[in-house]
């Protein structure tokens, strides 16, 4: 616990924006460009923080709170996840329930801020985000329950890193697949959403934040980056064979795996076109299906261990 605290905080502060920069670099390489510096997202956030915001005359104070509520809940829930090979900052039994609902609160705050502007574009983005996240909600529970059943632990940290998880690579693969889809939906990535535009046809997440400016926009971008980092950390922990040991090897492997996940995200984004909106629910159903398979494996796997 003593060593994990600084590591955890440090990685939470430094890595999310770097990881976003890495994805941008991967995408640039795939399209044959050199791409912006790795720290460009960090520069952007720093630049936005220095600016002063402009608010629509239609909005209420809710609009100003929305981005910060999103950031607070994202940071708060990130504390429950083992980041970068360390133990999580905090954990309590069934903390993944809290994790899911804290993310929910942040999302609701952002959706309300979008509706607050009275813009039909932002309303549209808000409605789509609400629909997709609703369908996605059970995935995390299926995956977490599968891991809990298999390992006998009841916390995020314990279930992900448990020695009891043992081999169970099929279970891990299913869980990672489900989490990958979840990551793509939650942090607005291809093939569900296009993070680089906010034009009508691609609008889900980006269009909700059209009216945010200055530090508020910085908060939204930072929160998205943290969500991405948390999601890739979850997957990296599951894929990391040394996760349970918690030594420097584990941290190194974890870091590499996180960047591998980010590379995968950037590659998918470069090679795959965005899905039609109508098809997104079916794509989410894929996550539900693989989460259910993981659940079955977890339940019967646990039964085999007396």
């Amino acid at each position: 616990m003593s060593a994990s605290l600084p590591l955890n905080l440090l990685s939470l502060l430094l890595l999310p924006l770097l990881l976003s920069g890495w994805i941008q670099r991967v995408k640039a390489l795939w399209s044959g460009r050199r791409g912006p510096p790795l720290l460009q997202p960090a520069y952007d956030v720093a630049r936005l923080l220095r600016k002063s915001p402009v608010y629509s005359r239609t909005t209420t104070p809710l609009f100003r709170i929305g981005p910060w509520c999103l950031l607070a809940t994202t940071l708060g829930s990130a504390a429950l996840v083992p980041l970068c090979g360390s133990r999580s900052l905090a954990s309590f039994p069934f903390d993944f329930v809290w994790f899911a609902y804290a993310w929910g609160l942040g999302r609701v705050a952002l959706m309300l801020a979008a509706l607050d502007t009275g813009s039909s574009f932002q309303g549209m983005g808000s409605a789509r985000e609400a629909t997709f996240s609703t369908l996605l909600e059970p995935v995390l529970f299926l995956v977490a329950a599968a891991l809990c059943l298999k390992s006998g632990a009841h916390t995020f940290d314990g279930a992900l890193r448990s020695e009891l998880l043992g081999g169970a690579w099929l279970l891990r693969a299913c869980a990672v697949l489900a989490l990958a889809v979840m990551l793509q939906v939650e942090s607005a990535r291809m093939p569900v959403d296009d993070p680089s535009t906010h034009l009508e046809l691609t609008m889900v997440h980006e269009v909700m934040v059209l009216d945010h400016s200055g530090p508020d926009l910085a908060a939204v971008q930072l929160a998205s980056a943290i969500k991405l980092f948390v999601g890739s950390s979850l997957m990296a922990t599951l894929l990391n064979p040394w996760a349970a040991s918690g030594g420097p090897w584990a941290a190194g492997a974890q870091l590499l795996l996180s960047f591998a996940v980010a590379t995968a995200v950037g590659t998918v984004e470069s090679l795959v076109a965005r899905l039609k909106l109508r098809l997104v629910p079916s794509y989410i159903a894929l996550a539900l299906a693989s989460g259910s398979v993981a659940l079955l494996l977890g339940a019967w796997g646990a039964a085999a261990v007396p």
């Binding site: 910060w68 039994p93 809290w98 409605a127 609400a130 609703t134 977490a144 329950a145 659940l295």
Partner: protein, 660 residues
Amino acid sequence: MSLSIFLLAVPLLALGAVLALVSRSNRASAAIALATQAGAIALVLAGAGRCLLGGGAQELSWPWPPPINTIAFRVDGLGAFFLAWSLPLTWLGTLYALGYLRPYFAQGRHGGTHFALLNLIALSFVLIYSVQNALVFLLGWEIAAVAAWLLVIWDYKSQKIRFAGFNYLVSTHVGLFVLVAAFMLLHSKTGSMDFAAFATFLARPSPTRGTVFLLLGVAFALKSAFFPFHSWLPRAHAAAPAHVSALMSGVIHKAGLFGFLRFTLLMGRPEEWMGWTVLAFGAVSAFSGVLYTSTQRDLKRLLGYSSTENVGIAAMGFGLGYLGWCWGNASLALIGFAGGLLHVFHHALFKCLSFYASGAVYQAAHTVDLERLGGLARRLPRTAALFLLGGLAGSALPPLNGLVSEFILYTGLLSGQAPAPEANVVLVIAAAALAFVGGVSALSTVRAFGVAFLGTPRDASVQVGGEAPAAMLVPMLCHALLVLAGGLFPQLAIELARSSLGLFSFASPEVLAASLAPVGALATASRLLAAALLGLGLACWWKGRAARRSPTWGCGYTAATPRMQYTGSSFSEHLARIFEPYMPVSRRERLPNELFPQSSGQLGSHHADAVERRIFEVLARGEDAISEFAARIPAHSRFAFAAGLFAVIVLGAVASGGWP
């Protein structure tokens, strides 16, 4: 001794009702109702308080002329738990009524009956939650039903409202018949109408026990508006004054769940199929109820469906409790019953708040049609904040009270403590369904609040008046504080429910403390989050006051009008399409088809209740069949009369003799 003090509440409330009825001025009626209800609360708490604090149950029986013989009263932890919040919440509702009905009083309407009926509702609680005799139980049940019906049709001059009231009256009596059938069955087996006699019969497994369980389940499900017995509910909630909707949804119909728990306690250890049935029934109810909330355009109908959802969630808890009991797992059983009971209580707190806030909207704007509202947050900032709080709590978002009870349920469903892997899988799927329900509920809250309160007004013909008077704001504030307190200090509600949980034979304080331990960590997390949000909110509000302002960016389009804002139906259109098999929609559309359309097109969509539509279809078909059959009988023939008489005799003979 203290139970006779307790029962003094009954004549006090009755006296208050009579006085409220005969008093000339509305203010005096309200004052009498409030004063007698406050007195009744004091008496009830004096009598039942000891139970809540961990004392034993108190009993009293009165001799009574036949056929009742004796009326036994018994206040135990369960009754005390329900009484402890039902009566104070009814009092707050009565206070709200004073503010809400003011425009009617200003037109010279006499409100004495209304306040008298509210008193009778309180009286019915005292009876239902304490009596041990089936006949008196039915009496209290009927008082509540008829009083609620009369309260619903306050605006009786509108045909629509009379129809909604009649619909409710019929449905609630169908439930009553089923309940009477269950009691008759029990009476035929025990020869008594006493709950104690029922208990000895129900404790032994027998086929009749299962039948009684199902009959009681249906009767209580009709009372609490479970899917598919909910069809009366959206109509009644939309028609009734806001405080009546609030009390019906939050308090009165909780009697159904109370009845269920009362008979669970009488029945003792259930069978496993009962647990699965209750769990599945609750999950289906939560799932269907919440899907319907996403498409409603009437704010109060929306909240009505949300009641169906929330009683479903509570029933999932009870189902889990049944299963834990069957499997001999005290911890799991306690988690289930605790989650269910707390959800019943928490739902009463946040749902009344939402209904009260929607009443404030109605009073200001004279409509609760989402598609006609918009931008209310600027005109009614207090109502907006209160409505949002209620909605967020209803979506089980932290740091409010709704999450506490759902969290407890999750700890049971995801614990992996079922004896077989199949059972564990089913429990996890129930948890995933609960997560989905939470997601849709958040969508509905965002939709209802965002469309009605945010953005700009959609309909220029809606004139929005001022903020609600103090008599309406005070009850809302009380509820809001309780909702917050329930989220930040969940131990308080657990303490309140402790004595009722202690009634279960398997319960022990140590197991209870151990099973609910995760709630403490949840509370800490909620407090931290609340502190962070409070700090951030204040900072944002403070810094944002002086910020630069400009119009909303229209993505380059400069002629945007308020009518172009996203509407409620467009907000939920995508979800509704995915679930169209469950939520049939009727579309009326005239789309422009030429290349250069000359006339404007139009599109309207309406989501009817699938169950209600089916009921009406079946009824209509039955009516057709009867009239067709009747048309075939020769108009005035002695033969028809003789045939009818013969049929009656044969049927009578079969019913009396042929059936052992």
